[in-house]
Symmetry: C2
Subunit: 149 residues, 2 copies
């Protein structure tokens, strides 16, 4: 996504919530778990590069970052109201009782992943690694509070 698409991405995350209304709770849960799996897969590829487990490849980094920036705005509808139960889930009930706080954390994830994609297009390794860290912190801020370990 281009930098100018951040507002669109945030708006999209909000206005596509009705899509979740067509689904049963277990389908919503399965969808959010799929989104997390895909984000984790791509973030893991970045982490491997950042930690030196795989060779540094700025272009490949940018591909994964771009994917994550596209995936992040798809997360929120996977936590639609009513999807707290229905299948095995690591999502804590506090998500739906503190939904505004949860949404704020989700919005930060969208912003940080967009910044990651933008920075990656610049190709500056130091900046990419710094934004990778900030993105990981956005993941962790939400997991610490709302994910059962």
């Amino acid at each position: 996504m281009k930098p100018s698409t951040l507002a669109l991405a945030l708006a999209a995350a909000a206005f596509t919530l009705p899509a979740a209304a067509q689904h049963k709770p277990e389908q919503v849960i399965h969808y959010r778990q799929s989104a997390m799996t895909m984000i984790g897969w791509n973030f893991g590829a970045l982490g491997a590069m950042v930690k030196g487990k795989t060779a540094w490849d700025a272009k490949q980094f940018a591909v994964h970052a771009d994917r994550i920036a596209s995936l992040a705005p798809q997360v929120l509808e996977g936590f639609a109201p009513g999807s707290d139960k229905g299948a095995k889930t690591e999502a804590k009930p506090g998500i739906w009782t503190n939904y505004d706080d949860f949404k704020a954390k989700d919005s930060d994830l969208v912003k940080q992943t967009q910044a990651l994609s933008d920075v990656a297009r610049g190709g500056d390794e130091t900046a990419m690694k710094a934004q990778f860290k900030k993105t990981g912190e956005a993941c962790k801020a939400c997991h610490d509070k709302y994910k059962q370990e």
Copy 2:
């Protein structure tokens, strides 16, 4: 994605294959199933509009189409060699014995989903519905041959 990014998307689908090498077969299988779930979720939202089950919303259509165009190039690495076994899967073994044919079908999916995103940005309802159909045919061409029902 912009039209000019199709070549990049196809290249990305190829050059990120090594990412799969970091994973166990069951992780690759789980990843591809997640990609399919997310594509299905977003494609289902389009189908609901096309079939008149939900109100036509060209902007929402474009959001889902853009997501699908980003997800499609992520599919191939979910079918990395060696991931034919390792977890419950609907993928037929023929995928890996006819890998060039499978990759050609995957490339067609990437092309059709990119066209779907491009057409959706134009906002022409008739063209969007026509390209939705062509995209569905690209899904079906592969499922008919390589997915166990």
